[in-house]
Symmetry: C2
Subunit: 218 residues, 2 copies
Amino acid sequence: MKKTAVVIDTGSTKASICRAVSHHAHRSQFVAAHQIAGTENSGPEAAFSGLFSDKTNIICEKEKSSEWALNQANLLFNAIGVKTIYMDAEEHDRHVAYVSHLSHVSSFLLGQTVLDIERDEKNIFALASTGFASTVRLAKSSPDTWAPIFEQNSEYLSQALLEYIMHLQKFHYHLVKHDSKELHRILSRANEIRRILEGLELKNSKKETQEGAVTPKL
Amino acid sequence: MKKTAVVIDTGSTKASICRAVSHHAHRSQFVAAHQIAGTENSGPEAAFSGLFSDKTNIICEKEKSSEWALNQANLLFNAIGVKTIYMDAEEHDRHVAYVSHLSHVSSFLLGQTVLDIERDEKNIFALASTGFASTVRLAKSSPDTWAPIFEQNSEYLSQALLEYIMHLQKFHYHLVKHDSKELHRILSRANEIRRILEGLELKNSKKETQEGAVTPKL
């Protein structure tokens, strides 16, 4: 490997790859990164202009990469329009388990549950609202992409899943008890996500109006 | 009540209202219906032109409504552009539990789980993808609307929830066992929802191109 070469990893989990290269002779030529961007579609045909613009890019273990390697990587990252933040690799995996991987699991298994019970697909077609489509959209994602991500992040994803299952079971308990007041209280607390989603929408709409300006400058 | 008067219920559960009116002297003047349309927003400001066009309308216990009442109701339903199908009230509640109410619960509690664990909202802002926003969108729905719906449909919703929790637990079991093959198999089966979602998208895009034609004809 030439001394000027830089290897950038862009996978969705960071702790395992960082552990794997930690004692490598050329560790400083390696940059561990992750761009939070993409859709439920995969492969080259799923690419579109502006995919990365204003999306978050996370660089992990910054201190183990040389200044040269980081600068080279940032030239590329700036060109595609991502905004870089820095994070510990374990922290990264813990946060994405909750904010990204858990949504994927919840969506995949919601799709599975509905397919399992509604054997007559006519009923899904007739009764599914746009809300259903939105909630199970991520179940269209590629198993080849996601099975290894889930497995590599199994520790944090397992914690996130147990937390989610616990909330579902608590809701179920109050549901069968017909405890209207508690059901209302649970939904009202969950409702606070509205504030965050509206912030995200604002961020995304800002992105869309700027789209024209973010053509790669490499 | 005048003999020509017609009462139309348009709520999201049908078995309890049908039971409540079943021995009413004027049962034949009542039509039990449900239009599968709406967004996560509620109140008059959430209305928009074309909200009902090409959406499914379900009439339950058709045989208990008079021909006059059904004709009057259908004049209205045709004018707003919904497509009417007929169903038993219990069947209705069972299907919507799986295809609509379960997605709402899964979304509300996913929002709750993330809020619970990510106390620093900056992380949600930085790391949430459009996938996360899509999956928790329904958590923005009104607790005043949904708590009573869940309670009225508690029997079928409870079954749906238990099934969903069972799938999540099975996934969790294979995750902690690092059973790559089984994880891949589960995701691949769930992936079959793609076919259904693509059918739904086709239906909705057809709707959008026809939008101009569906102004009320009342």
